[in-house]
Symmetry: C2
Subunit: 263 residues, 2 copies
């Protein structure tokens, strides 16, 4: 590789997703848990919670997507120069994202050997009885990364935020259940979202990608962390709220009607 040039359009070349076919109906779980009707289905926006049979585990989930990705794209395992695995034993939910970023960095670095990187992320989320259990689930994804990709990772705008907090951790190694403070966890997430969105906006402006007061208008699609579906809706709304706060002269008559009290 030319040491004075970055490879072009590094990103996701192909992707394969798998969820177990068994699931618990969330409205049945409401009844089973004695929760109010709609708490999980409307309140959290969920309908089905996937789970593994005794014929599946995190290894089989991950290997299923790896094999599919290789076979459907007609490539050989020898075409893969780097394998990154991010499962929830490493860095919880961020494990897969971290693996993805490491693989992108590899392709952009002098370590790159010209081959694809493969990123495998999977999780079987199981919680103890209580509020968090209904947000469980299981699934895996495998991604093929390389240059000239249809889904490109823009350079110079990526933003990361980390904070020291005990919202989600596994102090008991003999238990498969994490200790979760759900309310604090959502606060941490929303705070990180605010910080990352601000950093992203300021970098995008500096690089001339966007000078819109509202970045939301200039982007086609957003993807959010989905521990439960409702958080995705709330997160998108949160970006609008940030745009509103950043707007020196908000249009209260139309776009931001009724938001005066949040100023």
């Amino acid at each position: 590789m030319d040491q004075n040039n970055w490879p072009k359009d590094v990103g996701i070349v192909a992707v394969e997703v798998y969820f177990p076919s068994q699931y618990v109906d969330q409205s049945e779980l409401e009844t089973f848990d004695g929760a109010s009707t709609g708490k999980y289905t409307i309140g959290l926006g969920q309908s089905k919670m996937g789970f593994c049979s005794d014929r599946e585990d995190i290894n089989s989930l991950c290997l299923t997507v790896v094999q599919s990705l290789i076979e459907k794209n007609n490539i050989s395992y020898n075409d893969i120069g780097r394998l990154e695995v991010g499962i929830d034993t490493t860095n919880a939910c961020f494990g897969g994202t971290s693996a993805l970023f490491n693989a992108i960095n590899w392709i952009e670095s002098s370590s790159w050997d010209g081959r694809y990187a493969m990123v495998v992320a999977g999780d079987i989320a199981v919680y103890a009885t209580g509020n968090a259990r209904c947000t469980g689930g299981a699934g895996a994804v495998a991604m093929l990364l390389g240059p000239n990709a249809p889904l490109v990772f823009h350079r110079g705008v990526r933003s990361i935020y980390m904070q020291h907090a005990y919202d989600f951790y596994k102090p008991d190694l003999s238990s498969e259940y994490p200790v979760v403070d759900g309310k604090l966890s959502v606060q941490c997430y929303v705070n990180a979202l605010d910080k990352c969105y601000h950093m992203y906006k300021s970098k995008a402006k500096k690089m001339g990608i966007s000078d819109n007061k509202s970045l939301v208008d200039s982007i086609d699609s957003f993807i959010f962390h989905s521990p439960y579906c409702k958080l995705v809706q709330k997160s998108f709304a949160r970006l609008m709220l940030n745009d509103f706060w950043d707007d020196p002269d908000p249009d209260f008559a139309n776009r931001y009607r009724g938001l005066e009290k949040y100023r």
Copy 2:
């Protein structure tokens, strides 16, 4: 950062190492284990095996080197843009090396934010009674990585080799002991060393760094994995053996005297 230029001389800017002060004298361990005199001290080339008291664990070892590195180099935690931790729960002995390479890739990629990366690697190696126990130990290292470093990672020559083998693994999550096939593990290591050295030589030749038949002569210093000290000596000798095999016209009269039978 200029997107068309790599940062210069990326490598280790500073390093801090820590070992526990308590140790088992390996000659006493020979007596205790009923092993022949010199088995550990001469055979494996070891004198002391460090261990932790009940006031220390892997977290305190790692935090000790992190704090030392920050304080001795008069920098702030805010000067660190990336933290990589490689302990033996991830990828065994390769965990620290993998963390180091990820950090270097980060600095060479568009993700780099201009700050240092810090890599922390540590291990408390404890084995069940048997052959492997005397190769235990404990320690941690923290490294500060950035451009314009005194210890530079050369580009385009780094070589990695991986193989699927059950020489060292942890099938029993409730035990702190790994399952080790020591003999197979050394075979795997030596095989990987041969492969990496060959790849390194061919890359170094291609990049004009070295066209020596024996690369050993043109390098000031070698660093090897040290599960026990004797393996380091054997590994260095192995490089010479590789050079000998690669030499189309070996000098049996001087340099390679007596090696005819290994041809």
